[in-house]
């Protein structure tokens, strides 16, 4: 893993900055090291894509240069301009994360438009790339949105059906009602053990932990956050243990023991959580 420095050779090699076709629009792309750093068990790369809310329809200008045709069809089918822009931001972040991973692991320089990130039948992003080496490993990617920022985490994985999950939430937005609507009384009791000044941030970390585990398992929250229950919180270690309801239909339930660990933190004005299931 390299440091977060302007002279980073990966960033220089990939020419992060101007998005093709986006001349004059404020779209900023860069690696985000903190979420990747907490998951030291494997090689993973995280990237962020932020746009200026006042900027014009940059996604329409970037689409021909950044999307594969199947992606372009999905993007065009979205009914609202703001939804299309969010979707495009997420694709750009995901493609950048995959490109960094390919460069890091295989020394492959993959242009943005050669990496495809398309939803599967469950809505989970799947990576396609003609340059992907023929190995038993596959690339798992997860995307999350927060305001005008999208982030994506990509990792190489050898397991069976599950993968990686990331979730982010703004530290400054209003989150009234989240403790009551997203957590059961046993979970809020764990939250109340956190020191008062840090409690709002821990509330978001715990929420992100649920979402990250749900994404890693590839099944989502299924409309009920109580399907994912916070069992333990290790504040010094920055981990949260999440118990998964046995009613969920998982690709490989044998991979889940008592709980799944999510690594949590706060950085760049956001709470984040990262989880993976082999």
């Amino acid at each position: 893993m390299t440091g977060d420095s302007p002279s980073d050779p990966f960033r220089a090699a990939l020419g992060f900055g101007m998005l093709p076709g986006c001349l004059g629009h404020a779209v900023v792309r860069n690696p985000w090291f903190e979420p990747a750093r907490v998951s030291l068990r494997m090689t993973s790369w995280c990237c962020q894509c932020v746009d200026d809310i006042q900027t014009g329809p940059w996604d329409e200008e970037a689409a021909p240069y950044s999307l594969l045709e199947p992606e372009w069809r999905v993007w065009r089918s979205l009914p609202h301009a703001s939804a299309r822009r969010q979707w495009m931001r997420g694709r750009v972040a995901a493609k950048d994360a995959v490109r960094l991973l390919l460069l890091d692991r295989y020394s492959i320089m993959a242009p943005l438009e050669t990496v495809g990130v398309l939803p599967d039948l469950q809505g989970r992003p799947r990576v396609t790339c003609a340059a992907l080496p023929k190995t038993s490993a596959w690339i798992s990617v997860s995307i999350s949105h927060c305001g005008n920022s999208s982030v994506a985490l990509a990792t190489e994985q050898t397991g069976t059906g599950h993968g990686v999950g990331i979730d982010v939430a703004s530290l400054t937005d209003n989150h009234e009602g989240l403790a009551e609507g997203g957590f059961c009384p046993a979970e809020t009791a764990l939250l109340e053990e956190c020191p008062e000044p840090d409690r709002p941030h821990w509330l978001l970390r715990l929420w992100c932990a649920k979402e990250a585990v749900a994404k890693a398992l590839g099944v989502g929250l299924k409309g009920n956050p109580m399907n994912y229950r916070v069992l333990r919180v290790d504040r010094p270690g920055g981990t949260v243990e999440i118990q998964v309801a046995d009613t969920l239909e998982l690709a490989d339930p044998s991979r889940i023991q008592e709980s799944v660990t999510a690594h949590v933190g706060c950085d760049r004005g956001m709470a984040f959580a990262v989880a993976w299931v082999e």
Binding site: S82, Q86, G147, G177, L178, E180, G181, L221, G223
Partner: protein, 107 residues
């Protein structure tokens, strides 16, 4: 927070729709969707209003705080009458859910 129906025992469809719309307006501040006023009853919470799962959880929390003496069974909102999971629901579905499950408000 102002809550116009805080002490209302009214369970009419109109009241339930107002409850839903008022709560949606409170949680939609961070969403990307264009929240029209009034919010169209046929709009989907996710696809049209841009509510994230975090926003929907907040919605559940806010409605629970004012919904009555017992917690609302929000997990049922995303289950269709046939028993299958719904990935998105309309504002009118939420209103119908409130009309069905809302009980005596907490005072």
């Amino acid at each position: 927070m102002k809550w116009p129906f805080h002490e209302s025992h009214d369970r009419t469809p109109e009241t339930a729709l107002h409850l839903a719309m008022d709560a949606i307006a409170q949680v939609s501040g961070n969403a990307w969707g264009t929240v029209e006023s009034p919010i169209p009853p046929q709009a989907f919470l996710g696809a049209d209003l841009g509510l994230s799962s975090l926003a929907v959880a907040r919605l559940a929390g806010i409605l629970n705080q004012h919904g009555g003496t017992k917690p609302l069974p929000f997990h049922k909102l995303f289950v269709s009458p046939e028993g299958s999971l719904r990935h998105d629901v309309r504002v009118s579905d939420l209103a119908a859910f409130l009309e069905q499950h809302r009980n005596t408000p907490r005072l």
